[in-house]
Subunit: 529 residues, 2 copies
């Protein structure tokens, strides 16, 4: 088991490096002034483990010696997540902290024992699920252990009457879907990290999937959590809703392993939809297109997947994938009077044709003026929906600085936020392409998801992105949330006081101090040191 996981985790960096198609590379060079593919030379090696003998003995006693890894590759594979800076680090740029051991408990009880033991040993613990954090949420520290939840991969229980399932935290999303599908159910949570991310990670980070308009954010699916803390286990959530004081589930959802290790999640499940219908549309101009999405959201007729790209993202996605076909599409759109095409993907996942017809008609009536591009484009998007990380790898290998960031705000401030973040990124990167989409719409507001592409700095590739990211975070502060679905981790922790106040951070610290008085759990994440 440990080996399988290990393989999976390393694959992001050791697989045959993905390459951009030649015409995409040509186009990029033209657009951004990208000069030459730049390949880092230095590989990584792990320093020897300094896990004290006493600790090794205790951990071996709990999980068995086979499940305490101290080898270099095993530890290197869990040094961090998948942010651009993490990937740079794995290419030899920047510092990497390597844990002294990777511990793989078999079940919630073993997790509880490991956490308690580490508190006694004074050993920092970084909980690790799919390792897909892009905000430093699973950044390892020197003199720490990584608690890998890969062996907690069981579907514990399905309650078909209540439509609930109990899933172990280390279960990866595709495995969870496979197991639930045997009962005819789905979770419907499909973030871009779907292929690798875990149930516990979704809960710990307040994940939102691409179908959040239909299935809700992950927090909307969580009916209960089981959490191992150094002070003992807690379980929150006994009913579909409660007025028995503050909702402590919402304290654990988004706690990023800093309060405890989520070991089981009770989730709401739904029947697998019989029909999935994805379509592409083009609207003219970002402002008008965002207004259309607002109408869908506020009239509560959103498709289950509703995703609107801005003009630049539309242009790039047509250019990078379309080739000749995209040229034809461009001509067609011009003919239809569309000057500033914005691609809108709508996806319905429904029980029958009648529901599809009703919901589709309701949406269509709010999209007057939209040019229908049909199901081919919608399906193409659906099939490529998890390709983002691979595309990013290809771009990185072509010498590109490429990263994403996201935020959300209320509708009345959306355009201001959009403009400010774009300006911040444009101003701090040279000849960048800044793309944006709305992928999560609510009655009162929406998310904005930015992708920045620029020729990578040769001298200071990490600093190049750090400066751009800082500028973007400062632009977000006071208008939007510092994260709509990527979480806080290390990277956003400095901005949290601005969002919830110093007193809010003190509240978080008080909760942490109650559950983790030794402060061993994921230190530096969520709450800045």
């Amino acid at each position: 088991m440990a080996n399988r996981t290990d393989q999976l985790l390393r694959s992001a960096w050791t697989d045959e490096p993905p390459q951009l198609p030649p015409q995409a590379l040509r186009w990029l060079r033209q657009e951004t002034g990208l000069t030459d593919a730049w390949t880092p030379t230095r590989g990584l090696t792990a320093p020897p483990s300094e896990l004290p003998d006493k600790a090794r003995e205790v951990l071996d006693g709990i999980v068995g010696a086979d499940h305490v890894l101290t080898d270099g590759p095993g530890r290197l594979g869990r040094t961090g997540g998948l942010s651009y800076l993490d990937l740079l680090a794995h290419k030899g740029i920047g510092e990497v902290s390597v844990p002294d051991a990777v511990v793989l408990p078999a079940n919630p009880a073993e997790v509880a024992d490991v956490v308690r033991a580490c508190a006694e040993l004074g050993l920092d613990v970084v909980p690790f699920g799919g390792g897909t954090s892009v905000v430093g949420g699973v950044k390892a520290a020197n003199r720490s252990i990584v608690l890998d939840l890969a062996r907690l991969d069981q579907l514990v229980l399905v309650d078909e009457v209540s439509r609930l399932a109990v899933l172990q935290a280390g279960m990866r999303a595709p495995d969870a879907e496979k197991a639930l599908a045997e009962y005819g159910f789905t979770l419907g949570h499909v973030p871009q990290s779907f292929e690798r991310a875990t149930i516990g990670g979704f809960a710990a980070t307040r994940s939102a999937g691409q179908a959040s308009s239909g299935y809700g954010r992950f927090e909307d699916m969580v009916e209960g959590v089981r959490v191992a803390t150094p002070r003992g286990e807690v379980r929150f959530g006994i009913a579909p809703a409660s007025a028995a004081g503050p909702d402590l589930r919402h304290l654990m959802i988004g706690s990023e392993g800093a309060f405890g290790v989520i070991t089981e999640v009770t989730v709401r499940i739904r029947p697998v939809p019989r029909i999935r219908r994805y379509e592409g549309f083009v609207l003219d101009g970002w402002d008008q297109a965002a207004e259309a999405v607002r109408a869908l959201a506020q009239d509560r007729v959103l498709a289950d997947v509703t995703r609107l790209s801005d003009v630049d993202e539309t242009r790039v996605s047509f250019a990078l994938t379309g080739g000749l076909k995209a040229q034809g599409l461009g001509a067609y759109l011009k003919l239809r009077g569309v000057r500033q095409p914005c691609l809108l993907i709508l996806g319905w996942e429904v029980r029958d044709k009648r529901e599809l017809a009703m919901r589709r008609a309701a949406a269509m009536s709010r999209l007057r003026g939209a040019v229908r591009l049909g199901r081919v484009l919608g399906e193409a998007w659906r099939h490529g929906r998890f390709n983002g990380p691979r595309q990013r790898d290809a771009l990185m290998n072509a010498g590109v600085c490429v990263e994403t960031l996201e935020t959300a705000t209320h509708w009345s401030q959306l355009h201001e936020l959009y403009d400010k973040v774009r300006r911040a990124l444009t101003g701090s990167l040279q000849r960048p392409i800044i793309m944006c989409h709305i992928s999560h719409a609510y009655e009162t507001g929406a998310s904005l998801y930015f992708t920045a592409i620029a020729p990578r700095s040769i001298d200071d590739p990490a600093g190049q992105w750090q400066r751009a990211k800082t500028a973007a975070c400062q632009a977000i502060a006071g208008i939007g949330t510092i994260s709509h679905h990527h979480a806080v981790g290390v990277d956003h922790a400095p901005y949290l006081p601005g969002e919830i106040g110093d007193l809010g951070v003190e509240v978080l610290a008080a909760v942490k101090n109650t559950l983790d008085p030794a402060g061993i759990l994921n230190p530096g994440k969520l709450i800045a040191p």
Copy 2:
């Protein structure tokens, strides 16, 4: 202002006492063995205020002397809420703790000042909104002040684009609806306490309205809160959704004035529905009827109001309100083969006929076998929907022990919970009538709302209900939540550790200690002393 509020608050006990219609009284005597109307004799008088001069001076300085009430009636009117035991106490049965003063700040800044000053003075503060708590949530203490939010009654801001409104916490629900209606919007939050309850109270208690299936629970409407704590103000909620750590709004929602005083709430608003359509149906047998509601909830075609009465509640409501008409209805239902009538009220609040037709058809297709009683019955329910408290007063004046309690659980445990609570109440009251309804249905479960009626004990009227309530709470523990929408207050605090664990209670205490280190805010509520 103070006087108006004062009048309103006293009215529950000083108005002409409501009386049951003679035929209802006859029916009750027959059913329960109720013997004679029993009227308590002792009225209440307030002990003199012992507010220290220094405190008086400080409070006068903040809110003005006119807004610090120390007169008897003013203080007596805010000694507690509207539970059966509260009402008994106001009839002279049981102990009443009377605060030393009622303080009425004008705005959030004054609330913050009062709270901070009281922390310095070591003076306990009981925040007070509509005073409708039925769980001891606003029970005053001797040597405390009541912080009455009645003057925070302003609509601060309407953001029509984002469909958000900022409401001051002391605004009563009808006033909030009136103010929002001028902009064409509604909140749609209509609990039975609607006529008196306040926006801040809804948030502080995790209220759920009768139309929760359509508009959501109050927590679903809250986009942001502004809270005055002894350590300063906090504001949570900058975006429609966020992954910036735990959702601290959910720590304030349901905090019952123990962490801080909610002064403003930012709420999601919706256009006033153009069509309201309420209909009555009868289903045969509780189990089958509950299954029908489950189908509506799990297929996500609930009406905005969905309320199912069990056989006894249906029987009583027909008997108490129907008279001859009810007899005709009974015969008709028998003719239609209905042996165990369960009344189902469905209410749709929609934008147009098309939406009504679609949603109604979707619901109807899950209600095969239901007997339609039409709109007259639905409308009758709608117009009487806030009459519960008045009916209870009439029953009390007729010598009846009458109280409600509620819980919620997942569908697979609903019948077990229903049976256990019924048995507990039946076993601890003599010749009672126990009624129940589902008024809040979710995909994964539902609420159960019980009403108990029995001849009031002459010797020990308070103890009679306390024993029944204890039995019911013990029956709920481990299967359902101790409260679905009445909150914790004093009455449910002993059961909270059973629901969230001792460690969960420690977390709440740590949060309280951070925001209210002197422990002056609503002591004894939420967290048992």
